[in-house]
Amino acid sequence: MPKFAYYPGCSPKSSTTESDRSMRAVAKELGMELIELEAVACCGSRELRISNPRLSLVLNARTLALAEKENLDILTICNTCQLNLQEDNLKLINDKDLRREVNEILSRNDLNYRGTAKVFHFVWVLNHYWSLEALRKKVKVGLKGLRVAPFYGCHLLRPYKVLKIDNPFHPVSMRKTIEALGGECIDFKASFKCCGFHALMTNEKLAARMSGIFIKDAMSQGAECMVTPCPLCHVALDAYQEQAEKEIGEKLDMPIFHLQQLIGLALGFKEKELGLSTHAVSADKITTKIMGQGSLTNQPLEV
């Protein structure tokens, strides 16, 4: 059974608890053991990386050291956490002097980082570490006929030099995952653009306009719902959708799923177990459609 040091990050622990809840449910079903890293700090998001990059590095080194102590690799469900942890991990692995310097600070907590932990995003785990074939076999309620638009989010793809998870100009990992669940993947131009989250606190209008334009793009290509592997994108696309509608002057009403929620639906979980009721935009029309296909249960998918 694959075992990971689970690092949900600030957002899933507070404002998008449903992404954490659904991740735990899905992991159990998929046979992944998650040991949560509880006594850890924030990855630094963008803010700490601007205001105090050194502190951000030390805190991430601490997180990596705690995972290494347990002899585990880290699993993230947030793009920004993935980027920050992975980037700092690479710095620490490639620069012995820096590692020594950081370890001197970590020794205050009786910790030492040797540079052996790896950081994986859930999407990466599905596509490479575990397998989509294994996921496909677990699907109980296929998403056949459901037109899903994937929204990758920036920090899963860029900077490519650091992440190397997927091609930033022609990403495929989400497409493959959606298709493994039996859904129809909708291509749209804004699929790998930015949701605007990191400008939300300082310029809500700008961020809402960006997400509004992108949701509209997905709609125009015939998407019934969108799915994202990042809780921050979820906040920008779902919680702020009403503002986005105001900004672009159009009704959107687009249900947005966390990736693990969409997988959960295909694995047969109930809405409550996946926390769908916490979304600002109701996902009822999608769940009704999927549940209506209950007859597909346990039948092989035509993928």
Partner: protein
Amino acid sequence: MEKVIAKIFRFDPSIDEKPRYETYEVPYEKDMRILDVLIAVGDDLGKGIAHRWYCGVKRCGACSATVNGKPVAVCWEPAEENMIIEPLPNFPIIRDLVVDRQGYDKVVSSFRKFLVRREKPRKFPEDIRHEEMIHVYNLVQCTECLLCTSVCPDVDIDYKEFAGPMALVQLAKHALDPRDTLDRIEEIVSMGVHNCVSCYACVDICPSEINPLERAIYPLRRKLLKARKGLEAKHLTSFEKMVKEEGMITPAKLFLKDKGVAALLKLPFALKMGLKGKIPTKLGADVPEIQKIRDLIKYMEEKDA
């Protein structure tokens, strides 16, 4: 590969009602670049496609175009068998592949593109430490090819809210130079640096590998934070403070700290989110062994002092 099939965007706003695509075939030659294909279509097939180029060696920044969906410097990329060649996104079109740079030029001409020194250097060559010049050294490699601005999701056609990565690289080249003594805070604020969404699109696309985000935009934002100017200084400060005190961020609490009384305006939104269970009942993180994190931070601060 025997031939190259290029589907090229054609549009002359002065006579055409709407853009069209025309497909051309040219024989493939060894080591052919995309630029060579465009030249062959113009010279050998006699098709008057409008496109810019001067140096042909990735130094002048003139030849940028979108090829198969990705903006590139066409002089530096190999030709492929099938290509769709279009102008750069995010810019008005003058004709075919030629885009209007005027908006960008206007932004760049709005700030002082020279260094001002108070005193003469003590000796020549001057002693400047590598770490002082590390950003600038990198930024002078910019060829102003427009690629970063073409992929920036933030840039409007009028550059009002955000000047875009390329203009900020030009500004940073001067503002971060240790020899410069001008107060450039107002210039930085007017470029809307806080509106950057940190999407790294400019980083991945840059043919000169400049990293506009971490070499130009973040250092400029640090300059504003240090001067306590701009819209995000308060936000950045409360974020750091919250990490230092609580370890983790509680977005709702951060929002309250950021907005202060103005948060009342967002009461309906807060209520809606509260009803949906998006706002935790306890406003604050509950990180076990938080004292250890605090000790670590305290130790770092004492060391720095």
